[in-house]
């Protein structure tokens, strides 16, 4: 049994200009103790997918479909029901640790309130446990630093605080929404190390959202590639890197600059990401796809298993034709 099962998740936003579909028919599952990377350009719907799972969509957002966590349907639960899951079972860390921590509260108060609310601890005990969690994410001198405000920490330290805060209740699933995007490259590596350490130590499953393929490699078991609110391909990370079978994934991979490549010009994917305002007809990638056929712009390809172990792809063009 999977820890998390998402089926036909759909997210729409009502805006003054009309309805925007941010996520269309997304399905995937996650085993306990595994790391799943969700990869895509900005606006591909990867963040909205996980926000919908946790009921964190903006007020004008609406989600349909099914999200099962430990066999329990959690999509569109009431706030009080969701609050039993948030932080206790599923925790999330956000992209920008500067704005995601409350600048007007001490770190101690922001961490302690989680334990006070969920575990009913006293304030002293809650702070004690928070300090040991800060120790666990390798923040030096946590005993004193916990009394400080977020702006007194460096970017990397702030993200460590966020991670420590999310781990306080030992959640089964940790969602990391672009956890390293706002950080320096050297700090990025440290944070990624920390996340994989956490996964090993606590056995936490992790969903890692990123647009940085460099982060995915070596840090995840499976990779899900999203484009235009739809899943393009799901496979083991190894397979995605070794031999991507979807035109979009291939494009992504070839756009990554390599040290062993002497090309003068960086490779790009021609064209622009799709307009979410338009009704999704056909494959969202077809206008930019080199292999596009007539059927691509009229029928949305289904996400089908290729026969190999847990490898899914959504493309009308057979793998052989891409070579």
């Amino acid at each position: 049994m999977s820890l998390l099962e998402v089926n036909n998740l759909q997210v729409q936003f009502e805006t003054t200009d009309g309805i925007v579909s941010a996520v269309n028919n997304v399905s995937f599952s996650l085993e306990e103790g595994k790391i799943l990377a969700i990869v895509g350009e900005s606006g591909s719907g990867k963040s909205q997918t996980v926000f919908a799972m946790m009921g964190l969509l903006d007020q004008n957002g609406h989600a349909t479909g099914s999200v099962k966590f430990e066999d329990q349907e959690i999509l569109n639960l009431s706030i009080s029901e969701l609050n039993l899951i948030r932080s206790e079972k599923i925790a999330i860390i956000f992209q920008d640790p500067m704005t995601s921590l409350n600048p007007y509260m001490k770190v101690s108060a922001q961490m302690a309130e989680v334990l006070i609310h969920h575990k009913g601890l006293s304030k002293t005990d809650a702070i004690k446990q928070s300090i040991s969690m800060l120790d666990a994410v390798q923040i030096p001198d946590a005993r004193n630093l916990i009394r400080m405000y977020p702006h007194e920490f460096s970017g990397g330290m702030r993200q460590r605080v966020m991670i420590a805060m999310s781990l306080l209740c030992h959640p089964k699933l940790l969602i990391a929404d672009e956890p390293t995007t706002a950080l320096d490259v050297t700090v990025q590596a440290q944070i990624m190390h920390l996340l994989s350490d956490i996964q090993k130590e606590f056995g936490t499953s992790i969903i890692l959202i990123t647009h940085d393929l460099g982060v995915v490699a070596g840090n995840s078991d499976e990779t899900l590639v999203m484009y235009g609110g739809q899943v393009m391909e799901i496979a083991t990370t190894e397979l995605i890197y070794a031999s991507p079978t979807h035109p979009y994934t291939q494009g992504l991979m070839s756009a990554v600059p390599r040290l062993d490549d002497n090309a003068v010009k960086l490779k790009t994917i021609q064209g622009n990401p799709p307009d979410a305002m338009l009704d999704p007809v056909g494959c969202p990638f077809s206008p930019r796809c080199k292999f596009s056929k007539d059927i691509c712009s009229t029928h949305t390809p289904e996400l089908l298993e290729t026969g190999e172990n847990k490898h899914f792809r959504a493309c009308h063009v057979a793998f052989k034709e891409l070579l």
Binding site: M54, G55, L56, I79, S80, L82, N83, L84, I85, R86, S87, E88, A91, I92, F94, D96, T99, S100, L101, N102, P103, Y104, M105, A109, E113, V114, H117, H118, Y149, H151, M162, M165
Partner: protein
Amino acid sequence: MFNYIIKRIGIAIPTLLILIVVTFYLMHAAPGGPFTSERPLPAQVLANIEAKYGLDQPVWRQMINYSWGVVTEFDFGPSYKYHDRTVNEIIAQGFPITLKYGFWSFIVAIGVGIPLGAIAAIRKNTWIDYFAVGVSIGAQVLPNFVMAPLLIIVFTLWLGWLPGGGWHGGDWEYLVMPVIALSTSYMASIARITRSSMLEVLNANYIRTARAKGLPTKTIFFRHVFKPSLLPVISYLGPAFVGLITGSVVIDMIFSTGGMGYFFVNAAFNRDYAVMMGITILVGSLTILFSLIADLLYAWVDPKIRY
């Protein structure tokens, strides 16, 4: 925090000095002395009077004497028109009245404005939001000198519920209309400021974090939303205070409440420079003191200010 207080006081003192110097020189730049009247006084009499009030000394010396009196003894000198009264006596008569209805106006502006703005923000795009926005736009074009006569028309002339003026020691029925007239536009501004800042805070990333933590809505509101939303309100308190004290002049005119504004306007018509100067400096010091307090309050709420 200590350094910050010192720094703020470092601005407050020169401000006050500049205010004193400017008003003093303005008064002396005025054409005609305070004792120039239609019937010219005999030269000797005029000289005697000027000697009595120290007006025969050089301006800078007069100013130092005056400032010294203000700073050390809180003495604003004698009135030039009411010969038997000092400016201090006039202030002592008018100030408590201004203070009383000013205080209640302040309380009403904050006590109604903040909750109204907060409810409008939380219930955005519902009838209560539209109501609050409507009220605050309406009140923007209904300043105290418009509110006051309208209130008199409705509550005194049509309904006959409240007396149209007077003070009577500040009984509540004499207090109601001045307070409403004075506080409405500031209440509306505070409501509008609270609403927009709270909407911004509600959209902030750290509120999403708080939601993701699984905290109850009430806890999120009182622990995470409320305090930051008040910051713009706190920085508005200084200007609001200036506005209230300025508006008190109108209140005293329309409701005959006999506060400081009454004496100020009278002095303006009589060219009683001593009274005008005394009241201006008093009001200026209060304003400076108040904005100092507001700034310290701001620094207390916003940790990023504390150096």
